[in-house]
């Protein structure tokens, strides 16, 4: 089973929910995949050791200068201005390349072949029953999606018997879609404020568009207003768990300590959250 934890708004507690769920599943091996490659945080709470790291590369064209006749077919095709023919030579701007291989396909002289460039790193480490897989985007790198795809591929490679929990990046655009689209169930984490509600609506819209079953976790549920609760009721989206606004949770979090470790009274709640998700995911 693959559970994706997402949220339209950042900072609502996605990592908290994903990491606590993983920690709760002590009866089997679980893979936790941190897809927020721009700002990965799960490892700060899971503390895996030792960590294996490998570079992540993407395709970029490599132009054979002796074969290139500067016909310009590649630059006409490229939609991203990543390959440009000026006068008698062809230049590649690797940071703009989307790796579509179109330039290589259209080149009549076969002057273009496969090259590569590093966009970040993929890390993997174990801690108790948890295998954590995460990526870190190189500073200054704009293209997050290919790294997310590779992190997901790596994390889901252990076979379907393992439970996989995905911590998605915030938002509703390309990086998030990439992270949640293969999931069996999506947990949307929000908070009961106008910002939380607005972004929950976007996240729920995205999840609907992908036809994924979903449920909501309301974090800091004792603060704010009732807008999120009303929305969930009207849209018939189940509220799976409410986490109160408890300063002790915030303090434990600030020190990198998971709720289920710092405050054992929450263990039971995460266990039943997991049961609810399992039931709902199977019922589709």
């Amino acid at each position: 089973m693959i559970i994706a934890v997402a949220s339209g708004k950042g900072g609502t507690g996605k990592t908290t929910v994903a990491a606590n769920l993983a920690k709760t599943l002590t009866d089997r091996r679980v893979t936790l995949i941190d897809c927020d490659v721009e700002e990965p945080n799960c490892h700060l709470f899971i503390n895996p050791a030792p960590v294996q790291t490998e570079p992540h590369t993407v395709y970029v064209p490599s132009v054979d200068k002796t074969a290139c006749t500067a016909c310009g077919a590649c630059s006409t095709l490229c939609q991203f201005k990543a390959i440009i023919t000026i006068k008698d030579s062809t230049l590649v701007f690797p940071e703009l390349c989307h790796s579509c291989r179109g330039c290589e396909i259209v080149c009549p002289e076969n002057a273009i072949s496969e090259g590569s460039r590093e966009t970040g790193q993929i890390h993997r480490g174990e801690s108790d029953h948890i295998t954590l897989v995460w990526g870190s985007l190189r500073i200054g790198e704009a293209m997050a999606v290919p790294l997310i795809s590779s992190v997901l591929e790596r994390g889901t490679a252990f076979g379907r018997e393992r439970t996989v929990i995905i911590d998605a990046p915030p938002g509703t655009s390309c990086p998030v879609i990439e992270a949640v689209k293969g999931a069996d169930f999506t947990v949307l984490v929000t908070e009961p404020t106008p910002f939380g509600l607005h972004d929950l609506k976007l996240a729920a819209g995205m999840t609907r568009k992908l036809s994924l079953p979903m449920g909501v976790v309301i974090n800091r549920s004792t603060s704010g207003d009732r807008g999120v609760h009303d929305f969930c009721r009207d849209e018939a989206i189940p509220v799976l768990l409410e986490i109160p606004d408890d300063r002790r949770i915030a303090e434990a979090y600030s020190n990198g300590i998971l709720m289920v470790d710092a405050l054992p009274e929450y263990r039971e709640q995460f266990r039943s959250l997991l049961e609810t998700i399992t039931r709902k995911a199977a019922g589709r």
């Binding site: 708004k9 700060l44 500073i139 915030p170 607005h198 603060s223 600030s254």
Partner: protein, 290 residues
């Protein structure tokens, strides 16, 4: 005219809350909501929309079923797996690279402009707001950020505004990089948690990478004194300027629920702390080059 970008690395640290407060404190500025993925500024500023514009970016292919012979060449050639074996294009996976259009032997693939969302020019009680709405599951947030910034800048020039306040996106990727380009100052809002510290580190490296001077404000500072101190050390080590501390206070949530900025809602310590940070940013702006 100076452009100030407010970002955070980690989401939910109070970026929009601070930007809205600055908008309410400063005179003669334009606000730009560049968190196009989760644009929330309008919830606090309650804008009257003056102009709505379509945002088109890139192309989306369309297959003419009449002409298509189902040869499968496009399916094989699409590097993104966006065309199913029965030749249906999945718009979510499509990057708009046009390879399918080029390889099709019977010219069955047409290209259409891709409508990705809307952008708006609005008026608010604190002056003009340029904002946008990216369609759900759409791409090109970086291009939309660039467009909003361009429009906000043009507007600022035409009305002789002193500053453009840009509310940026979380993370360090495409939309954030777009928001940093051409900025005079970046304000990082962080919180004293392990993730706040970690994410601020990466965001400061990004600012340094693009050579934009940076200042750091700590929200919920009293949540963890030790982590707050660590943030201040890291701020200094990165050559950034500390802008001050904001206390952990429920009043921020209450102000948001009331759809007001903290300056309008509160007369206590929280508002005073934010006003102090506003002053610190103002003096820092003065030191940036013209």
């Amino acid at each position: 005219m100076k452009e100030i970008v407010i970002i955070s690395g980690k989401g939910g640290t109070g970026k929009t809350t601070l930007t809205a407060a600055l908008a309410s404190l400063w005179k003669n500025n334009i606000t730009a909501d560049c968190d196009v993925d989760a644009a929330d500024m309008h919830l606090l500023l309650n804008p009257t929309v003056l102009e709505t514009h379509d945002f088109f970016s890139g192309v989306v292919p369309e297959i003419d079923a009449e002409l298509c012979t189902a040869c499968g060449l496009c399916v094989e050639s699409c590097a993104f797996g966006a065309i199913s074996p029965d030749i249906v294009i999945n718009r979510i996976d499509c990057e708009g690279c046009t390879v399918c259009h080029h390889v099709c032997p019977v010219d069955a693939v047409a290209l259409r402009e891709r409508h990705c969302g809307f952008w708006y020019r609005s008026d608010t009680r604190f002056g003009p707001l340029v904002h946008a709405e990216l369609g759900i599951a759409e791409e090109n947030s970086g291009k939309l950020v660039t467009l909003i910034k361009k429009e906000a800048k043009a507007l600022a020039q035409s009305v002789n505004a002193e500053t453009v306040l840009v509310d940026g996106s979380p993370g360090i990727g495409c939309p954030v990089i777009s928001s940093l380009s051409g900025a005079d100052l970046v304000v990082v809002v962080t919180e004293p948690t392990v993730s706040g510290v970690h994410d601020m580190d990466r965001v400061l490296q990004l600012a340094a990478h693009f050579r934009v001077p940076a200042g750091v404000a700590i929200n919920k500072a009293d949540l963890n004194e030790e982590a707050s101190r660590r943030i201040e050390e890291k701020t200094a080590a990165a050559g950034a300027v500390p802008l001050g501390r904001i206390p952990y206070d429920q009043v921020f949530t209450r102000a948001m629920v009331d759809r007001k900025t903290i300056i309008e809602f509160d007369r206590g310590e929280a508002a005073a702390a934010v006003a102090g940070i506003s002053e610190a940013i103002r003096s820092l702006v003065r030191t940036t080059e013209d």
